[in-house]
Symmetry: C2
Subunit: 410 residues, 2 copies
């Protein structure tokens, strides 16, 4: 896998919240960076806020106004990374290195003005190159940017990963290291599937699907950006030396298994409506109302028989109450609403599916053998997802993991 | 005292750490500001970090390297004000106002590059005026600035007061409101002198002496800046409507009492050295060594008799151990060192002293009547200070407070 590393000695290294979650861990990160520099590397560091800090700030804001988003909210949250990069700079300074902590306005990380979910437009790579040329180690605050009138913006959940990939792209690096508290991406959640194994390699498309399907390891937009600029991501543990998972373009992966991973989303609900008016007018109106209230809709199915039109869709459990309220107040007098709680979504992901037939058959057959009923289904060219009962989730995951040859001993 | 207020409707209001120390208090501040705007005021707000926050950040930094000061330290500490102004902005927003939280780089508060004790060089008043003209309420992060290469600097202890006065000066205001958790400056510490009274007015020189002599109410540099630009400071309680203490130019005060206040500094030590070499070479060498190790020296006296030269000086208790170590290792073989702990400094301050004789006599006579011995003494044209035993401090303060007609019932 060494051939995948960039030949340049400049390497972007991003450390997550748990990696800088205490002074002791910050010292460990500094020690690791010191070792890297002794091997001739020129690191560019990116840090998240200390774990727990962003939640602390969010809860302060919620005490004042839980609904508010905007300029002040982003300024508030951005303070978390300001703290962690300052402390990391001190820890490097103590070891005789020359750190330069950089906030977004100092480095020039330009974004659009969508507060709380801004997109990076450009990074001042000349500034970064001049810092490195001066023998210094840039330590960049992740998650934050500035818009064209110098307001602080933030990039949304997992935004620091996106910052790291954007920096790698800006300096023309071909890879980026994401340090976290897990050693790799797994073929399934090991707490659910004991035979889950570490994946040495994944393709961008797979990682993006997994991010959408509930894997919390990497944020969707970070992988999307990496794919756009062909930046290989090396996801690895802060506290171990060995390599983790490389996320690479499809053509660079050694082999493309039919299924690379089984993922799941445990907190899912299903809402069924009957009878709904024919035509798309009702649907457009319904989903518009729900999305304006930030209710996230996942899988949607429609069917009709002689009695009339039926609609069913899945959504996160946390949005259920709000969705019920909106539907009840708007259409309560026209349609019957039935709600199924304690559901879960199980999915298989793999770019190899594109070249194999019968994957969906094996998926449903496996669930059927395990006597697991399926409520809703959705597929793409590289994934199959189904809504099932939550108490069957582990059984389904173990079954599918084995069915598609992912077990550790295979 | 109303005549002292600026006629302009733009008023700089600074809220200290306890005033924004919790969400509840931030809401109270916002409520007060809302009331002010309804009366037609156009406030410019300055906030300190939430009380306790700066200490939390300092202790994180100390865990890594207690000796480090520099760029990363200032960036770390500046995050505290970023949090408080963001939260205050949300609280105003909730009340239908249009706040604009402003960090130093956004407003353009330029300082020199002396990290942790930077001085403000300029404030972009055009930016501030345009924000006010747009009907918005600027909320400025106190304590912080940026140097000419966009690094964050901080202004030292009490720096937010200095920020407020600098803003008032920049927009040509003739006064500035400092909101704090005490209702006024007192003629003595009420915990020490039960008959201490609130002072409706103080002169700049007196407030500067008091700041130097242990009063924690306002920082020296803030008053110095106010004096330079003739900005009247109105120090008052965040939680009461009534006026507090106005700090004004000497010529504007109604009357100049001989003594305006009694101040004290309880944690003082005295070091005596004997015999010391004649000439100033030894003294220069000694005080150079101590100051390079950040040991603060206060009162110094020298005397000599037939046995040789004697030197005595006072210093804060917290610097005592370090001072003993430095002196012992450098001169331990030449001089005898004796240390007096449990000392305190008592002072009287008043611009009226300039026009009265016999003040020093009354000071010492009062201490003498109370059988209080004096170790070291220093005077200026508006103050007299003496080092006494700490257990006599309260007695001395009560005696002097009464002697100079400051008691509440007089």
């Amino acid at each position: 896998m060494n051939s995948m590393k960039t030949q340049s000695s400049v390497v972007v290294k991003k450390f997550g919240g748990t990696s800088v979650g205490s002074i002791e861990r910050i010292e460990q990160v500094a020690e690791r960076v010191l070792g890297d520099t002794r091997k001739g590397q020129k690191p560019i560091l990116v840090a998240s806020a200390m774990s727990g800090e962003t939640n602390r700030l969010v809860s302060l804001a919620s005490e004042i106004n839980p609904a508010y988003r905007g300029e002040a909210y982003d300024m508030l949250l951005a303070s978390g990374e300001q703290v962690s990069i300052s402390l990391l700079a001190m820890a490097l300074e103590k070891r005789g290195l020359k750190p330069e902590p950089l906030l977004a306005y100092q480095l020039g990380i330009q974004t659009d003005s969508l507060f709380s979910k801004a997109r990076i437009l450009s990074v001042n790579h000349e500034k970064m190159n001049s810092i490195i040329a001066a023998g210094k180690i840039p330590i960049v605050a992740g998650f934050q940017g500035v818009n064209e009138i110098h307001k602080i913006t933030t990039l949304g959940r997992g935004g620091s990963d996106t910052t790291a990939v954007a920096l790698a792209a800006a300096i023309g690096a071909d890879s980026c290291e994401i340090y976290t508290d897990v050693p790799a991406v797994f073929s399934a959640d090991p707490r659910l599937v004991p035979k889950a194994k570490e994946l040495p390699v994944l393709r961008y498309d797979e990682m993006m699907e997994m991010a959408s399907l509930g894997s919390k390891v990497l944020h969707f937009r970070c992988v999307e950006l990496a794919a756009k600029y062909k930046i290989k991501i090396h996801l690895r543990s802060t506290f171990e030396k060995r390599e983790g998972t490389w996320i690479v373009p499809e053509e660079e992966a050694m082999e493309n298994p039919v299924v690379s991973a089984v993922t799941h989303e445990p907190l899912t609900a299903v809402i069924k409506l009957f009878p709904v008016p024919k035509g798309t007018g009702f649907l457009a109106d319904l989903f518009d109302k729900l999305s304006k209230n930030n209710v996230v809709i996942d899988i949607i199915t429609q069917s009709h028989n002689e009695e009339g039109q039926r609609l069913a869709f899945s959504l996160p459990m946390e949005d259920l109450e709000q969705a019920k309220e909106i539907i009840g107040s708007s259409y309560g007098d026209q349609v019957n609403i039935s709600v199924m709680q304690d559901k879960a979504k199980i999915s298989i992901v793999g770019v190899g599916m594109r070249n194999y037939t019968g994957v969906a058959y094996r998926f449903f057959n496996c669930l059927n053998k395990n006597e697991i009923d399926v409520d809703l289904v959705t597929t793409s060219d590289i994934k199959v997802s189904a809504i099932i009962d939550k108490d069957k989730l582990s059984q389904a995951a173990i079954g599918l993991h084995s069915e598609f040859g992912l077990d550790n001993d295979q």
